[in-house]
Amino acid sequence: MSATDRAPSERVDVCVVGAGPAGGIVAHSLAERGHDVVVLEAGPRVPLDERLERMERHQRPAHDWTEVWGMGGDRDAYTSTGDVDYPLNSTRIKGVGGTTLHWIGYTPRLHPKDFEMESRYGLATDWPIAYDDLRPYYAEAESAMGVAGAEDNPFAPPREEPFPMEAFPPSHSDSILDAACEQLDIDVHSVPQARNSEGYDGRSACVGYGTCHPVCPSGAKYDGSVHIRKAESEGARVLDRVPVQRLEHDPEGERVEAAVYATPDGTEHRQEARQFVVACGAIETPRLLLLSKSDIYPDGLANSSGAVGRYLMDHLLYLVTGRLAEPTGQHQVGFSTSVTHQFYDHEESTPGSFFVGFLNYAGPSPVEAALGDGGWGDDITAAMERSYGGHIGTEALVEQLPDPDSRVTLDPSETDDHGNPVPQIHWTVGDHGRATAEKAIRTQRDILEEAGASVDYATPAHSPLSGSHPMGTTRMGDDPDESVVDPRLRTHDLENLTVASSSVFPTGGAMNPTLTIAALTLKAAEHVDADL
């Protein structure tokens, strides 16, 4: 069978839809247990030796951000109708590795309170599992992805295991903001991240290219292609550029029988399997279920609850930046090295959780300053001195609550390159999110002003940026009337259909979600293995 053969395999043990971090981890976990696994990925394989060229596309002003990884076009068409525009095609990548190809790589754990929002605050809903249930999987995920971290965070949830690697030391500009925080009685600490601070798992230590988001050319930053390669080495078969069109179930509507996918020439094939795992993120996962409607499931597969697509959350991202009279040394590394989680475990119900991170890449880079100016010679020096120097900045990720009207549906008025209705994203922020944002922005301003910076930008509270962390659209719960998957991550409606994605989060907290996705995926893999 050639590398480009996209014919289906004989009925396999497991068919995984999506080759991002969840798809890769579940495929590897099940393949190494001896199961026959096929992974179907809508996007292309991305050769590792192209990463330097992709970095150049990012750095040079002729190229749009979406050109770096080839997002957009008819394949990725969507509509946005909510309070805040949802910038899907600048946040999500279809390809082997998924969105982790351009993620920043931070891997904090959710806090215990994130699992207990209704019990503690009377807000939203509790998860059907607790932090302690997920704790061993968090440790396993940190080991699998390779997380560098330190136990210097007084606000972190309990852990017993050391991080696999030591944390990255703080930056020069961290020391400026750290001093300001000390005056404000704010404790600052390191950032756990899936980025090698030393050689790990056959991948290089970080060498400071400084372009992690959107491209790490060295391979020091973890991405989902790592586990896809591991899965293939364990015998899994991975087909790229084969978007799944729909899932088909048996006559009784109890089991999925096949994933119908299209090859680049438009031919449709059926991949049959004993178990199916849908791992295509919080937008495409509900979309696929809605596209798979049938006589038995006229509102979409696994949607007896009506919850598929609902409760869309993201983390609300707020930037506050300023300038100091002194050089701050930005852009020598592409990730943050200090944050504070001091404001995470709140007492009152609202405002809720947020954390503040210190930027090491505030303001334009020298290349951006010089090439963006259009000049040459003397003008280059002037442009760089004008644009690069005393920039300093913070970012805050803010919690929002699930809202049934914040949702992903199908938009029949527009179709993708296969004639399917595109996802319509209706993202709403909500009063809790806005109130929390106001506190976060005030905190960010206080830190910068205490540091002596003149604030030159603050994201408006009512108009957040997307944290690029869509969540919640196939929520987990014990009650089949209110949720899509059970605590085993299996759909209530179909006994061989599992979801591995942030789409199962009942609430989203304010922590970057990928480590939690990985932990849940490892848990799901155990359950699928048990069912085989």
Partner: protein
């Protein structure tokens, strides 16, 4: 600030040419190691002459001794046949403009004339575009190409006190120590 051939090797290594890039134990394909000899079909001499002369115009005045840097850098970059062809085409177009305005090749112009020619071409207003019209391709494949090579190298970073500019794999010490000026 004197540029050297070694600076060019560092700039090329960051772009993955010349074997100096840090791939670690990652499973990148073997791209081979350059001996500095272009592999394209066009004679690179005129391209090198043109780009050296252009660098004398577009590089900041603090930067000196540009010729060894540019020769090394451009020779490495045109290992890619497509880029080689595109750069030669852009250089031919710039040369044609020089001959039209000054009856001389671009490399025969003094820097003031070269600067004036770029102004005449409206180069400060032109959007760089590898697929664009002649001026857009000159901006992308020659002017921005040379500036990009410089500014992602440690020597270019020094123009703003930056030891490890983005795109250069200069390790993890510099960011902790802050600016060096």
């Amino acid at each position: 600030m004197e540029l050297t051939r070694r600076d060019a090797v560092a700039a090329l290594a960051a772009i993955g040419i010349g074997g100096g890039v840090v791939y670690g134990a990652f499973e990148f394909a073997d791209r081979g190691v350059s001996d500095g000899t272009p592999s394209g079909t066009e004679d690179p001499d005129s391209l090198l002459e043109t780009t050296v002369a252009l660098a004398e115009v577009v590089y900041p005045p603090e930067v000196t001794e540009v010729e060894p840097f540019v020769r090394e850098f451009v020779s490495g970059r045109i290992e890619d046949d497509d880029r080689h062809t595109a750069m030669v085409d852009a250089a031919d177009a710039l040369d044609a403009r020089a001959r039209s305005e000054y009856s001389a090749s671009f490399y025969e112009l003094d820097p003031e004339e070269g600067d004036a020619l770029l102004e005449t071409l409206g180069m400060s207003e032109v959007d760089p575009d590898p697929e664009g019209d002649e001026r857009e391709r000159i901006r992308y494949y020659l002017v921005n190409e040379l500036l990009y090579g410089l500014l992602r190298s440690p020597k270019g970073g020094q123009l703003v006190g930056l030891e490890n500019p983005p795109g250069h794999p200069g390790g993890l010490e510099a960011y902790q120590q802050g600016p060096d000026r």
